[in-house]
Amino acid sequence: MLPFERQVVTALARDVDEHQRPRVVAYVDAALRSMPEYLRAGVAAESIVLGTWPRLQRAVGRLDDDGLVTWLDRLEASRIDPVRQYVRLLSSLVLFAREELATEAAP
């Protein structure tokens, strides 16, 4: 997982129980690693391009996890398919893992 992807996943999973959060991150990491190479290359390229602005903002202390999630929400409404799908991919992976782990943790 690229550094920006890890930031996104960590931000999306910020409300997950702290004991479960590493498992969510590990699942997303494994899922990204096992994608077909050409799809993974596309996702990585988007991470590099889309990650530029948040990286700069973070460097000057203007973007925390909540701000990053708000920015991702805006991207999810983008009219550009690959941008919208990028956010949807990562948020879907986090959502699936979070809810499945919640089931596992339920009494």
Binding site: Y27, A30, A31, L32, S34, M35, P36, E37, Y38, L39, E76, A77, R79, D81, R84, Q85, L89, S91, S92, L95, F96, A97, R98, E99, E100, L101, A102, T103, E104
Partner: protein, 479 residues
Amino acid sequence: MSRLGTNYLETEVLIIGSGAGGSVTAASLAAAGRDVTVLEEGPWIEADAMEPFSLEEMVAKYRHTGLAAALGSPGIVYAEGRCVGGSTEINSGLYHRLPASLTDEWRTDYEIDEFTPEILDRYAQRVEDSLTVSKVPGPPPPSSAVLERGAAKLGWRAVEFSRVFRYEPGGRAVKQTMSRTFLPRALDAGARLIPDCRVTRLVRRGDRITEVRCSRRDSSGAIEALTVRPEHVFVCGGSIQTPALLQQSGIRTHIGGGLKLHPTVKIAARFTESLDHRDVPMHRVTEFAPNLTIGGSASRRGHVALALADSGADYRDALDDWDRVAVYYAAIRSEGSGRVIALPGLAAPLVTYRLTDGDMSRLARGLVYLGEVLLAAGATELYPSVVRGAVVRSPDELVQWWDAVSRSRANVMSVHLTSTVRIGENRARAGADSFGRVWGLSNLRINDASLLPDAPGVNPQGAIMAIATRNCDQFLATT
């Protein structure tokens, strides 16, 4: 007899892949006394080791952990098994014979010998006799009864489909996957199974495959090369991996084109009563079959969350109430088609699929009809798998979905992939002869979903197993 050296193996029959086609082939040929070796890329996983459709199962048994997609507009997410038993380990276990009308159509269009409804029914009967095909004893679970109830209110046909399940005396339902049925029979008859072994290339000399090159992961995790020298090869890797391997091996004529699948859209439906979530509904609305089928999907909490999130609407209240939410689908037979293209140096092939405007229209119709059934059954909220798709609470609101199912907004998925090496004597259209032998190669056969000339509109496992059994009989009679 097989001989296994440090890194080479000789065998009479090599079967690549252990899903519905490969396992049937292994059991048939081993029972006939042939020396059989099965190579499976994925691992052996004990039958009850994981909960069906769970996160753990997706990581262990699904190829690409379920993250594969056919590129197109829209892209189509699809799932394949990658473990001993193949996709039979991860599917819902619904069982169908091939409809007679399709058998007749395919025989005519592709000039397939010995391919009549009577012949295929005979082979289907053999499969059913050796694989428990049954219906649920007693009343259906609530998530399935929903479809029956909704269809009855609309005056539409709905049926409970048979499944490859065996019911134990205590009521436990056990899916009859290949790792529980045909593979153990093959091993008992002397077949050898090598899991964690990926085939990278078939080596051709003249009109024969003389060597098969593989990389095998040993128990310590180390990768080693393995070369197999077979007399006969059956490739049974499924409709994506089979054409990819053939193309990587320089075999390309009518290989990989014509990919077919069942494009599917979904709805997360909220009811006032609790639903079951451990099983997949076995009822299907067949009023518009085979061109449009309405059914139910896996609905664990993770699946419910994903389906609720698809539309982008606020779903937190519904997710908190997830015990009353289940996921349903509408699947179509598609006019469009796709392609599998092996890319040099990459393990995964490029997969594309083009939906026609007619397909998009059918998906919209399917979504609306599915909504009608669910509302008739008592659903109070419907969340469609359409970006910015309106949450619907009454039948008069469904009209909004007709225009919403567009290429840029529909989230489309599929599980049934077929038709990348079609059979038939029509060499202008088929990649293999009537019994799966690849044109121009005397000892290379295909025996999996790739052979079906089109997507059948139903779960293809029954058709694959019947056709594979038929092809094995022909092989045994002629070889």
